[in-house]
Every structure is written in structure tokens, then in C-alpha cells.
């Protein structure tokens, strides 16, 4: 292990240990239990978006099938833990393995077809989600169409109360997934995937075992998608086909990763944080009265519209995602974030902390919007010429 990966391992370990004790602090510090569940959801999206991105973001093979692998995870818990009485802890790894087997089986068929690559893969992954959903619906051993209740599942009580336990399970899976994504990015596998992304035939000609690399990455990616789904089943508590295999999971992991940046493991983290905090606040915002009550806007209904608009703006203005720019303008973004939070605090003193965070993060995003060319022109007038601002993001990201 080289120095860099040792530092990475230490940082992840330290972060995980610190966060592990957050639920312990809940009682003494008296913050609402809601924050533990909110934290769990955030960790859940970290795991889902990272697991999707470590394959699709790195290799460029677009998968619409995240829902299928998530769904295999959810239903493994449903069948093994709820119907057959397995403890949750035993069902979770099995879910990861089943999901990975589905991924590997799919990959084995699709990646072999040399001439049919990107587009076919996208379509096949989309189809697989439908097929898996159909099988679960028809088979009475799985779902049979009536859904499964999970209130009898044997939970790992030693991890604390339900919210504490969910937070900690979510933490373990998120840390493992994100650590895997970061490790892959800097490993031989990551280099292989990035070169496949740019030109697969040339990559093969330069010694990259393209088939094996795609299989490995897709296997690992789908393993974590299943793992995360298996834990999430308990959070949903009553699982139905419509809900589990809805467009929500595949859509959100794509939006999160595109928004944050797909060529760095931090991309999905940034994207998931923004999307999740924003949708959470919009869902709870209720109605907004404008013009003295003459016009009422329901923010929760506008949620999807706002997320859609955000995606359009981001794809047009920040093609490579926010992370590469954030890495370069971190101090400006941090200053904007702090200013935003302070302004929100002055403006509406009793605003919830998450809402203040959202105001701060939107302020930071604004700082990241101007294109690098504009920033470097401005900074070359006031500072040393050729600041790293106009370097391509990839220089730093691979």
C-alpha cells in the first residue's frame, strides 16, 4: 500500500469513527431524532449514487438499471428477513451478492458483444429493471403483487434505537461504498475504466483487459447497490413493486452524479448532498403565499420541476459537474456558503438548520456557475496570470 492510499484509508476510518458516535450525542445534546433519519437518508443516497458512479461515471457505460440492483437488495431483505425470519444482518450481505450476480450475468452477456456497446448497454439495463420487477410481481415467493411488511424483521439491536441503528447501518454501507469508489478511481482498475471511457479499442490495444475491467467494476458497483437496498428495505418498512422499482432511484443517482461530477468519487457526494437537502426542504416547505395571499405556490409540488430545471442549468453551465470547479474555487465557495448561512440566520432567525444549509449551498453553487474562462480572465487582471482556474478538470481528477 502506498502513502496516498494509506492516508485515504486513515481519513475514511477517522471520519467513520467520528460519525459513529453522532447517535450517542443525540440524547445529551438534545437535537431532534429527525436529524438521525435525515442523516440516514443522506448516507443512503451517498451509497446509491457512488455505487452507480463507480461504474458508469468512470467507464462511460450508461446504466439505467440502478433500480433493478437496488430492488434485488430490497427484496432480498423482504424475502429472507421478513418472510423467512433471517436476521437483517445476515440478509444484507446475501443481497449484495445476489445483486452482484445479476450484474455480472448481465455484464457477461452485454460486454461480450464487441460491436454493440454503449447504447445497447443502456437499453438492456433499462429492460432488466422491468424484468426484475415483473418477476417479483408474478412470483408469490417474492412479492406476488401484495407487498411485504417488514415490521417483524430481527434488527441488530446492539446498534441502538431504530433511528440510531439505521444511521449506523447507513454509515457502514456509505463508508464502504465511497471508499471503494475512491480506491477504484486511483487504482489500475480506475485507470482502465477512464481509458475505456475515452476510447475502448485503444485502451484494449494499450493492454487494458477491457472485458475483465468492466465486469469487475460492474460487479462491485451492483454489489453495493444491493447492499444499500437491503438496509433501505427496513427504512421503507412496507415494500411494494411500484415503489421499489419506480423511476426514482435510477433518476436520482443519475441527476446527483451528473450534478456533482462523474469523474471523481467526490462528485456523487456533492450531488447527493445538494439534491437531497434541497428536495427535503422543498417537500416540507408547504405553500408559499405571494402577493399578499393572492397567489399560492405549493413548493412540494414544484419539487420535480425545480430539480429538473436545476439539472438543465447544470448540464448547460457546468458540463463536468460541480466537483472539479469546487476543488479549484473552494475558498470562494466556502465564503459564499458562510455568507449564505449568516444571511439566512439574519433574515429568518428561526429557520431550521437544514434550510440554512440549503441557502448556504445554493450561494456556493452560484459562485461555481461562471465558466473557468471568465474566471481566469478576471483573475489574470487582478492576480498572477494563468491561475489553475483554466486547467481542464481532468488534470486533477484522474
Amino acid at each position: 500500500m502506498n502513502r496516498r492510499s494509506a492516508i485515504r484509508l486513515a481519513a475514511f476510518g477517522f471520519g467513520a469513527i467520528v460519525l459513529w458516535f453522532v447517535p450517542t450525542l443525540q440524547g445529551p445534546m438534545g437535537f431532534p431524532i429527525f436529524y438521525l433519519l435525515f442523516g440516514y437518508s443522506l448516507l443512503f443516497w451517498f451509497a446509491q449514487a457512488s455505487s452507480w458512479n463507480m461504474f458508469t461515471g468512470y467507464s462511460g457505460y450508461f446504466s439505467f438499471g440502478q433500480g433493478a440492483f437496488f430492488g434485488v437488495g430490497v427484496y432480498t431483505t423482504g424475502v429472507l428477513a421478513a418472510k423467512r425470519g433471517w436476521p437483517l444482518i445476515a440478509a444484507v450481505p446475501v443481497a449484495g451478492i445476489l445483486s452482484a450476480l445479476l450484474g455480472l450475468g448481465l455484464g457477461f452477456v452485454v460486454f461480450r458483444l464487441r460491436k454493440l456497446q454503449g447504447e445497447i448497454f443502456a437499453l438492456v439495463t433499462l429492460a432488466v429493471a422491468f424484468v426484475v420487477a415483473a418477476i417479483a410481481r408474478v412470483s408469490s415467493k417474492i412479492d406476488g403483487g401484495s407487498g411485504i411488511a417488514l415490521n417483524e424483521v430481527k434488527l441488530p439491536d446492539f446498534l441502538g434505537s431504530f433511528p440510531s441503528m439505521m444511521f449506523r447501518l447507513g454509515l457502514i454501507i456509505a463508508v464502504l461504498t465511497v471508499f471503494a469508489a475512491a480506491t477504484i478511481q486511483h487504482s489500475r482498475l480506475g485507470w482502465g475504466l477512464f481509458s475505456i471511457n475515452d476510447d475502448e479499442a485503444v485502451a484494449e490495444g494499450l493492454g487494458v483487459p477491457t472485458f475483465r475491467h468492466k465486469m469487475m467494476a460492474f460487479g462491485i458497483s451492483t454489489f453495493f447497490a444491493g447492499l444499500s437496498g437491503a438496509v433501505h428495505a427496513v427504512q421503507i418498512s412496507y415494500i411494494t413493486i411500484e415503489d421499489v422499482f419506480s423511476i426514482r432511484i435510477p433518476l436520482f443517482v443519475i441527476v446527483m452524479s451528473v450534478l456533482g461530477g462523474m469523474r471523481h468519487w467526490m462528485g456523487p457526494i456533492v450531488g447527493a448532498t445538494i439534491i437531497h437537502t434541497l428536495t427535503d426542504r422543498l417537500n416540507r416547505a408547504g405553500d408559499l403565499d405571494l402577493f399578499g395571499g393572492n397567489l399560492t405556490l405549493s413548493l412540494s409540488h414544484l419539487n420535480d420541476v425545480i430539480i429538473g430545471l436545476l439539472l438543465i442549468v447544470m448540464v448547460l453551465a457546468v458540463k463536468d459537474g460541480l466537483w472539479p470547479r469546487l476543488a479549484r474555487r473552494r475558498w470562494a465557495a466556502l465564503a459564499a456558503f458562510v455568507l449564505g448561512v449568516v444571511a439566512a440566520r439574519i433574515w429568518i432567525p428561526d429557520m431550521s438548520p437544514i434550510a440554512k444549509f440549503v441557502v448556504g449551498e445554493l450561494a456556493a453553487v452560484l459562485v461555481l456557475l461562471p465558466p473557468p474562462a471568465l474566471v481566469s480572465r478576471w483573475s489574470s487582471r487582478s492576480g498572477p496570470p494563468n491561475t489553475p482556474a483554466d486547467q481542464p478538470p481532468e488534470a486533477a481528477s484522474v
Binding site: 471511457n197 475515452d198 485503444v202 494499450l206 487494458v208 469523474r263 481542464p392 484522474v398
Partner: protein, 243 residues
């Protein structure tokens, strides 16, 4: 000593025979020139030998091992390397990272952190060290072709296929490239060059193989092959046959 041999190679695309039974070899330390008019099968032969296309018939042996069924990445690791007629760099990586890929997955087999360092050596060989951390979009065609050479050389190949490395270059750049090819040859690498500029092939090659319509029509030392009536006919048309 013979390094690479290929026997009776057939390659068909649909009903068209791009190669109709080509046999030949590459000896250690030689520069084999592949000549022939457009569509004669030169590029197809390179594709088949480097593992980019599967032959319909025939066998390929490299260092006494049958590699007919092996994949391109495997052949690269064994020491067969190539460049492309139109440069194909990894466009979202820097110049240095492009070479690092070859060091990670080629015969050097380095871990990524060392490959990034070592890449500089091969960029320096091609005179690109000053451009190491630039994005690909900053390079011109000549530099892109040199990047392809650095990438191909970084794995320390035993045979290197150069697919029209001179095409599209101006006279000064062509002269520089010829010197570069000689320097590569001095490293002890066997070269197979495909080139349209016959003058250059003549000057560089130790042996020439002429193809036409997927068949070998002449083979031997440059002077003989260039005088061969079949070759003259293939290049200039039949009315020059008796000239």
C-alpha cells in the same frame, strides 16, 4: 531470428476479402515496409496482427507462441505495440496520463503512482516533456503522432507497427519523424511501417512487402520490390507495365 510470423491470413468483411491469404514474417531488428495502394489490405493486416480484428483463417506466431486467438491487450503485454493512422489519444486525460496508461498496463506493469512519474521519460524521448501536463487539445498533429509513439514505446515493445506516422505532416516534420523512427529502431525494436511516401519507405526499410487487393505481390530488398513490374502496375496502372 524470426519474431513474428503469420501464415495464410484471410480476413473478409461481408463478402469482400480484405486479405486473401497473406503469409510473412518479421525478423528481430528489421524494419519491414508494408506498401500497396489504398485498399490493398495494409491496415487490415496491422489490425489482425495487433489483435484488433480476428482473422477468418490463418495463424499468427509471436516468439514461438501461437497468439492467433489471444486478445489485443494480451498481445500488447507480450510486446506487440502499434500507432494509429489518425491519432487516437485519450482526450480527457493529460499528455502524461496518456503515456501512464501504457506503463500501467504494458510490459512495465507499474502501479499508477510510479507510472505517472515514469511517463516523463518517454515523453522526453519524443520531445514532449514540456507538454506533459497539458490537455490533449493543446497538441498539434505532429505532437499527437509523437504522443502515440511515446505511448507505444512506453511498454518497451519488441515489435512496433507504425500506421502512416508521416501522413499529414509538413516536410520539416517528416524529416524529424524519420530521425525519430531511426532512434526507435536503435532501441532494438523491430518495426513494421505502413507508409504512402514511397521515398521514405525505400530509405528506411530493410525489407519491403508489397500488397495489392489483399495479396502479397512482391517481397524483398527495397530496390528490387520497387522495380517489380507487378508493384509498378499496382501503383501506377497497367499502361506503365511495360515502360
Amino acid at each position: 531470428m524470426t519474431l513474428l510470423t503469420f501464415e495464410n491470413i484471410h480476413k473478409r468483411f461481408g463478402g469482400v476479402a480484405a486479405l486473401g491469404g497473406v503469409t510473412g514474417s518479421v525478423a528481430e531488428g528489421e524494419i519491414l515496409g508494408l506498401v500497396g495502394p489504398n485498399g490493398s489490405g495494409k491496415s487490415t493486416l496491422i489490425n489482425v496482427l495487433s489483435g484488433f480484428a480476428e482473422p477468418n483463417e490463418g495463424s499468427i506466431t509471436f516468439a514461438d507462441i501461437d497468439i492467433t486467438a489471444t486478445e489485443a491487450h494480451h498481445r500488447f503485454k507480450e510486446g506487440i505495440s502499434r500507432t494509429y493512422q489518425i491519432p487516437r489519444p485519450f482526450t480527457r486525460m493529460t499528455v502524461r496520463e496518456n503515456v501512464a496508461v501504457s506503463l500501467i498496463f504494458g510490459r512495465a506493469n507499474l502501479p499508477p503512482s510510479e507510472a505517472i512519474e515514469r511517463a516523463l521519460h518517454w515523453l522526453d524521448f519524443a520531445g514532449l516533456a514540456g507538454h506533459a501536463d497539458l490537455p490533449i487539445s493543446e497538441l498539434n498533429l505532429h505532437q499527437l503522432k509523437y504522443l502515440e509513439l511515446s505511448r507505444a514505446l512506453a511498454s518497451e515493445p519488441r515489435v512496433l507497427f507504425l500506421d502512416e506516422v508521416l501522413a499529414g505532416l509538413n516536410p520539416t516534420e517528416i524529416e524529424e519523424s524519420i530521425l525519430m523512427i531511426r532512434r526507435i529502431h536503435e532501441l532494438g525494436i523491430s518495426l513494421v511501417i505502413v507508409e504512402h511516401v514511397l521515398r521514405v519507405v525505400n530509405a528506411l526499410s530493410t525489407r519491403i512487402m508489397a500488397l495489392n487487393q489483399g495479396l502479397v505481390i512482391a517481397e524483398g530488398v527495397p530496390a528490387d520490390v520497387m522495380r517489380d513490374p507487378e508493384v509498378v502496375k499496382a501503383y501506377l496502372g497497367s499502361r506503365w507495365k511495360h515502360a
